[in-house]
Amino acid sequence: MTRPTDPPLALLAELTHRCPLRCPYCSNPVALERAAGELREEEWRRVLGEAAALGVLQVHFSGGEPMARRDLLALIASASDHGLYSNLITSGALGGEREISAFAAAGLKHVQLSFQDFAPANSDRIAGLAGAHARKTSFAAAVRAAGLPLTVNMVVHRQNLGGVPEMIDMALALGARRLEIAHVQYYAWALTNRAALLPNRQQLDEATRVVAAARDRLKGVLAIDYVVPDYHGVRPKSCMNGWGRQFLNVTPSGKAVPCHAAESLPGIVFPSVRDGNLADIWYRSDAFNRFRGTDWMAEPCRSCDRREIDWGGCRCQAFLLAGDAGRADPVCALSPDHGVVEAALRQAESALPAFVYRHFS
């Protein structure tokens, strides 16, 4: 059963948890890391070098808001020096033309810019920051003026899903070539706010229909990536394409994790890049080997013919919803714990609770 481990394809570099936005579905952990605990510039430079040597091809600079780091330009340049293809994942709420043109000159290849809605008022309300939408709109223009390709990322949920047609128009007007319409995934802050975010089946089906029609109409003009909410599915998502198979995430304080939610798992010591080389961490650490491949699986995954397609779904979701990271992902209809997902879906039909906005505790 055991096969040799391939090198990772991509590194998610979570430079900071600082962010001017307070989105209630933020994927950062509920216990946010403060600036004092963040890796220093020279530590990130070493991580980028080790990542390239290990076989990482793409680096995604993310956060929090990565532009809150004053050394972002230097880190983009360092990534380029190491031959890494770099992507900036940003809220667009800090900085503008001057920064973006410097990033482009330093070798940045692409920008993914998030929006909270197409309508400015609802967008600002969800982001928890007045004027955020207007800043993002001018940021998009700065990205295009610098000649960089733009992906618009729209996180969708119960409180904005009806606007998908207008979101598509907005992405076209902003000059994006890609639009990511991503349903909220229920971890961290989003799990706290699940009842305020999870759409019902009817809302979901309507949005899915609109996306399918737009994909046909806009073929070759605007690529639309659509991430469906797994709670409404029958089989789980292939989370990260399998634990420790392709992706590696380094948190602001330097913990290496197989995905951005894995820090929530108890009983696993995630190694720090401060203590060891990335290659050792990837190939030899207990944390990265814990759920690699299929040997760890119990039933119903173990004998499932999809075990090497969805890799048992998401380990974090298994822990969060079933209390054990080694069980099948409860969103799978074959999971003995599937009832908890059905109960959550019933909440999607109930009264709308208020948001708990992201904050430092």
Partner: protein, 103 residues
């Protein structure tokens, strides 16, 4: 920069090149060619690598097909033409190729 609203349709006359921000390079760690695109990563097979090496902003799609037909004389040219055009159209639809002329 104005948003592009037209689909690039590949024909024999199309002269294609890699779009800016597409990186086609040999990866020493994996010992294979890779194509890096915004939030996309392709590991082209041997045939695709051969085609991509001919996408240079000077050679037309028709000339690429001719070159490959010259190398693979046992395969009918129409079959090669169909496969090459389909692959180039797919890459164009993914935003990986551009053309200077609009044909």
């Amino acid at each position: 920069m104005a948003p592009s609203t037209d689909r690039l349709v590949v024909s024999a006359a199309s002269i294609l090149r890699l779009a800016p921000h597409i990186v086609f390079r040999f990866d020493e760690v994996r010992q294979r060619w890779t194509m890096l695109a915004p939030e996309r990563l392709l590991l082209p097979d041997e045939q695709a690598v051969e085609i991509l090496q001919l996408v240079d902003g000077k050679t037309s799609a028709g000339a690429i097909i001719d070159a490959l037909a010259g190398r693979y004389t046992q395969a009918p040219r129409e079959l090669i033409a169909r496969d090459v055009t389909a692959m180039l159209q797919d890459l164009a639809d993914k935003g990986c190729l551009t053309s200077d002329s609009s044909d």
